[in-house]
């Protein structure tokens, strides 16, 4: 017993070393788990305070390019509003008795937030925003910027949240080729923050370079038809039964600044439907 104690005392620091190494491995391999503690993410109070202070300063750096893309998206939306107004007016004159101006319940709501910390150079990237549970942000909500989708909420603090960036090898998104029903799975494979791949596109899918990839809307995370990227070309995938497409992303992840978190009012209802056990009447 004394020998054992002596041994432990003598090599105590190396036990400590082994403990730290083990602890690091535990942390390292828990990156996939959804149940990250807030304290161990950049959404904790100290690091979000530091990051917000620095983003107050660096936030001005990309304003010009952000302004330009906002202007572009604003012009497009204005066009669309005019178009739709025109269409509604037309329908009302033609079929005033059948088309009612029904006020559709809004399904999606947006929470606007500012990115306070961002990275693009790791294989698994995350960024944090300055809105948290107190503002209605919950885990699993989708996040978009003015150009397209950017990520999914992963950890929420009281006033900050951490988002899994689209630039994260472990995260896949359900997408489709715009104007068709051919769906695939969007994955980023490291390296260039502009390039991602759409996997599992059926072989009979028709497309050409320059077609837009949009969200499929098959989840409660993102509404359908949000732009994701532009098809560059077809590449040889790992599975011969499917196509794989190389895509240039529409969002500039190096200059993320203002994003919107998407709240789906139907989420609870849809989730409960999926868990619903059908019991036929006897």
């Amino acid at each position: 017993m004394r020998n054992l104690l002596n041994f432990i005392i003598r090599y105590g620091t190396w036990f400590l070393f082994a403990f730290y190494v083990l602890l690091s491995f535990v942390l390292l391999f828990s990156h996939n788990s959804y149940h990250h503690s807030v304290y161990l993410s950049s959404a904790n109070a100290v690091s979000s305070a530091v990051n917000s202070t620095s983003s107050e300063i660096t936030g001005y750096f990309h304003l010009r390019s952000i302004n330009e893309s906002l202007q572009a998206s604003n012009a497009m939306l204005e066009n669309e509003v005019l178009n739709l107004r025109h269409q509604i007016a037309e329908y009302q004159t033609i079929l005033s008795d059948t088309v009612k101006n029904k006020n559709y319940e809004e399904r999606f709501k947006y929470i606007s937030a500012t990115v306070i910390n961002n990275s693009v150079r790791h294989p698994r990237n995350y960024f944090s925003i300055n809105k948290g549970e107190a503002d209605g942000v919950r885990r699993g909500m989708g996040v978009v910027d003015q150009n397209g989708i950017v990520g999914i909420v992963n950890v929420t603090g009281r006033h900050t949240s951490r988002i899994i960036s689209l630039l994260n090898e472990t995260q896949h998104f359900s997408v489709k080729i715009k104007g068709t029903q051919f769906i695939g799975s969007l994955a980023w494979k490291g390296g260039d923050p502009w390039i991602a791949y759409v996997e599992e596109v059926p072989r009979h899918a028709k497309f050409c370079a320059g077609d837009t990839i949009v969200t499929s809307g098959y989840s409660t995370t993102f509404p359908s038809e949000i732009p994701v990227g532009i098809i560059m070309n077809r590449v040889k995938g790992s599975d011969d039964n499917f196509f794989e497409l190389k895509v240039r992303l529409t969002s500039d992840f190096r200059a993320l600044s203002t994003v919107r978190v998407i709240m789906d009012e139907y989420k609870a209802e849809l989730d409960s439907l999926q868990n619903y056990d059908f019991k036929p009447d006897k």
Binding site: S24, L27, L28, N44, V50, N51, R121, G191, D192
Partner: protein
């Protein structure tokens, strides 16, 4: 002694903030990343006990990880670097009573020996950190490019920081 503690506490905070606020956002040609916070581990006195050395290194790595959301990557690499600190040091410095109580720096070791000690530590760290992060031997070429370019950039920046600190003191 107290003065030393305050000096290193200050170095810890300054290096941590410089890393997470500035250097983490730099990636020259999308490959070279300055990893300057290991300067804190490199500069710790050789006479420091292993227990304190490992603990400080682990805390430093974990702090950087928490800010950068790379949980475990830097914590593991820092702990390993701390364990290698003494072997690297004695690879270039003769083992005797005089060298046992030195704090590694240009003035105590001389430019040549210090540069060798610095470049070995930085090189090993870069190799470890990118291997841990990519953790896939299919990426060997990528890891080597990242590690080599980051090592060069970090080495230059650390020499610059050294010259700043030494001029002041």
């Amino acid at each position: 002694m107290n003065k030393e503690i305050i000096k290193f506490a200050l170095l810890f905070i300054v290096m941590l903030l410089a890393q997470v606020l500035i250097c983490n956002h730099i990636a020259i040609f999308n490959v070279a990343v300055p990893i300057i916070f290991i300067y804190f581990i490199i500069r710790l006195p050789i006479s420091l006990g292993n227990g304190i050395l490992f603990t400080l290194a682990f805390i430093m790595g974990l702090s950087v990880d928490i800010f950068a959301d790379t949980l475990g990557v830097n914590a593991l690499a820092c702990t390993l670097l701390a364990a290698m600190k003494r072997p690297i040091y004695y690879a270039y410095v003769p083992k005797d009573d005089k060298t046992k109580y030195l704090t590694p720096s240009i003035s105590s070791l001389g430019v040549g020996v210090y540069c060798k000690y610095l470049v070995t530590s930085v090189g090993l760290y870069c190799l470890m950190v990118f291997t841990i992060e990519y953790f896939n031997f299919a990426n060997v070429k990528e890891i080597i490019i990242l590690a080599a370019s980051s090592c060069l950039l970090t080495f230059i920046m650390l020499l610059a920081i050294d010259s700043l600190i030494i001029r002041k003191s």
